[in-house]
Amino acid sequence: MNIIETDGLTRVFTGRPDRKNRLRRSRHVAVDCLDLTVEAGEAVGYIGANGAGKSTTIKMLVGILVPTSGTVTTAGLHPLKQRRALARRIGVVFGQRSQLWWDLPVRESFSILSAIHSLSAADERTRTAELVDMLEMGEFLSTPVRQLSLGQRMRAEVAAALLHRPELLILDEPTIGLDVLSKQRLREFLVAQRREHGTTLLLTTHDMGDVERLCDRILVVDHGKLAFDGTLGGLARTVGARRELVVDLATPTSDLVDLDGAEHVRSESGGLRQRLAFDPQRTTAARVLAAVSERAEVLDLSITEPDIEDVVREIYRATRH
């Protein structure tokens, strides 16, 4: 079953009339004839540059915005005509806007949302307990939302969106601004959630890590049009999305070339710091590190993710020709 289906989905924003020529208005095509299907149970990363049309698409999927033309069906429902029924079946986290009540303890926000979604008292208890446990929210359950750290708040937002067990979870920039550990925790939770409940995930992100760890399908949107639809492997093959392992060595070392599965990018400080690129689909950071350790003593290391902006730019470059 398709949980999301769009057909020729288009959204045009018209500006104010021109002062000189009243008939001429500025037109901005935010989403351009988008045909999209997402099957129930999939995990889809929806990526693109700022202003590529991601948020506009999501707003049309959930019934906030009216499409200029084309059709959209979410969870088998018409998002505009059946908005209220749809609200019971989807969960949405907008990274920048909160579902929670600013001045109330987290616990109380959950109980209000349970009432809003008509959960029974027993259901509310078990579901809240489950989410509190999985997202490790016990320590800040009684804290007013305004006092939470960003990572804590985001966990609470995700829990709030999942309280009513939606079939489809839409996340708009869920990990923006989070530290590495918080990101990791949130991703692990989302993977588990999907495994246990079969929740369909649709997420927009600027973080390649999110895409790699959470999504089995990637959609790249450019100027409102679909520029890529495929797997992460396919994306990597198209643009060569590689990670970089940066190693600090004990002594100046000659360039680490001919390593198995990794390619030397450049050396700094006379060989004290070296950058090695590798394809995460074919090898792991640990294996590359082991290979380096055979040749030199490693003092410190860091891994840089491929920048999603670069990946997107590559896709745009490839598809525009």
């Binding site: 906030i64 200029t68 505009l80």
Partner: protein, 273 residues
């Protein structure tokens, strides 16, 4: 789900939000008391203004001070109650800017109901008290021919006034979708209308009569019903019994509000262009 059960569930959602708002206000006792007293003082100052006016002039538009107390009390009580229930529509521009409105779209309740119940200002009860007191004193001071009819007229007037003022808040909210910084304009008829409703409309110039007797029919909230109640002639050329038509004015106000709200929402969602 059976219909009664569904309705109970719907109320549970609003009750949960409102109860939490009430609790959070009550938990700051000192500030809540001050808010309450403050709201009451504002009402008293407005009342004093009328007192000063009438003690200087004796009567305006055929209304004595005792009679205008009825008009003031009725309209102020109706407005304060409407403010308590629908006053949060005023927050719409803030909600639009903060993205809270988008969150409302993700919940299975009607948007307008969510907007109205998004908060509760208990301090507004302070205002209700001033209105209720003035109305009670007015009823005692005036020589009223009590009957089922007069009681019915009062109840009808209060209910209609409440609906008219609540509808003004919703009308204003609908227009705010277009005029994100246009609260000055909508305040003119929401709060201007409240002020106008406390006055004897008989002395208004024709233009004002069209605006506050017709388009935003606040004259029906108190002045006209009180004129009917006391058997006084209405504005030039209008019959005494016009006060009975308060519910018609309320229906008109609701129709305008519904139209403005839908229109505004369509604009927000981008269907209206």
């Amino acid at each position: 789900m059976a219909e009664p059960l569904r309705r109970a569930q719907a109320f549970r959602a609003y009750r949960a939000v409102l109860a939490s708002r009430a609790r959070s206000q009550a938990s700051h006792r000192a500030s809540f008391r001050m808010d309450l007293v403050g709201a009451m003082l504002v009402g008293l100052i407005e009342f004093t203004e009328i007192w000063v006016l009438y003690s200087a002039t004796g009567e305006i538009g055929g209304f004595t001070f005792a009679q205008i107390m009825l008009v003031f009390g009725l309209s102020d009580l109706a407005f304060s109650l409407a403010d308590l229930v629908a006053g949060h529509c005023d927050h719409l521009p803030v909600y639009v800017r903060a993205g809270t409105l988008d969150v409302f779209f993700l919940r299975p309740q009607p948007l307008l109901a969510q907007l109205m119940t998004s908060d509760l200002s208990l301090r507004r009860i302070g205002r209700c008290l001033v209105g209720a007191t003035s109305l009670t004193v007015g009823l005692v001071l005036n020589d009223i021919d009590w009957s089922v009819g007069t009681v019915g007229l009062l109840v009808l007037a209060l209910a209609s006034g409440f609906v008219i003022f609540a509808a003004q808040f919703v009308t204003a909210a609908g227009l705010q979708f277009f005029l994100i910084n246009g609260s000055e304009m909508t305040n003119a008829f929401v709060y201007g209308g409240r002020y106008a409703a406390t006055q004897p409309a008989g002395v208004w110039p024709r233009a004002l009569l069209v605006v506050f007797g017709g388009i935003f029919p606040v004259a029906f909230a108190a002045y006209l019903p009180v004129a009917t109640l006391l058997g006084m002639p209405g504005p030039v050329g209008l019959p005494t019994w016009l006060g009975w038509f308060a519910p018609v004015a309320a229906l008109w106000a609701v129709a305008v509000a519904g139209l403005c709200w839908r229109w505004g929402l369509r604009h927000y969602r981008g269907a209206g262009g």
